[in-house]
Symmetry: C2
Subunit: 127 residues, 2 copies
């Protein structure tokens, strides 16, 4: 896995990852990966992140079913960010039941929720 | 500037920022902002980042002229990433002279440069 060795993992052993819908171009999520997460993401062709809050691998969609199928993996010029182009299963990336995590927009100095909830989170997370 | 107070600036006082071309949807750059950088970005409607390597505010385009005019500012669900939709002046976001910083693609376990240099960096950076 030479491609993993080329990344300057940060002090916590992580790299920032942007997930973008491969067909619409919508930016869905910014999350983090450690070495194992990126390795599994590439092997499985499904996004696996590192959850900083839970301090464990987070197989995106493991509870919700909203997995991200990886179409393309890109790296930026200074190799400290990864771009995943994905097919977002269920059309919902956010735990709030929205398409994208970036559902708030700055308007006149305030963060305003602009995108609709597509599915009630209580129906997504049954536990 | 209440909207700045709502962000959980990390231990270094920074937040991750994704810049996306507002018209094409192409992801251009991932960079970082501190409080002052985001304040100035919103005031000037042009991207101002925090350069972690130079440890100073980095007015994107200050040398190259490739400024990013801000069309929209978005925030993600856990408020630890900002999405800027921008008009990329000159059509070049990367210091390598490419449209996007994400010009390398993972192919068969190798990072392969896939996007062309649009302008020789020696012609962009005269100093």
């Amino acid at each position: 896995m030479n491609f993993l060795d080329e990344l300057p993992w940060n002090g916590d052993g992580l790299i920032a990852v942007v997930a973008q819908d491969a067909s619409t171009g919508k930016v869905l999520t910014v999350a983090w990966m450690n070495r194992e997460a990126l390795k599994q993401t590439v092997e499985k062709r499904q996004a696996v992140y590192w959850s900083r809050s839970r301090k464990r691998l987070w197989r995106k969609g493991e509870e919700s079913g909203h997995v991200q199928k990886v179409v393309e993996v890109r790296l930026d010029c200074d190799a400290d960010a990864v771009l995943l182009k994905v097919e977002q299963v269920g059309g919902i990336a956010c735990h709030t039941g929205r398409e994208s995590c970036f559902f708030r927009k700055l308007e006149n100095g305030k963060w305003v929720t602009r995108d609709p909830v597509l599915k009630d989170p209580s129906l997504i997370y049954k536990r």
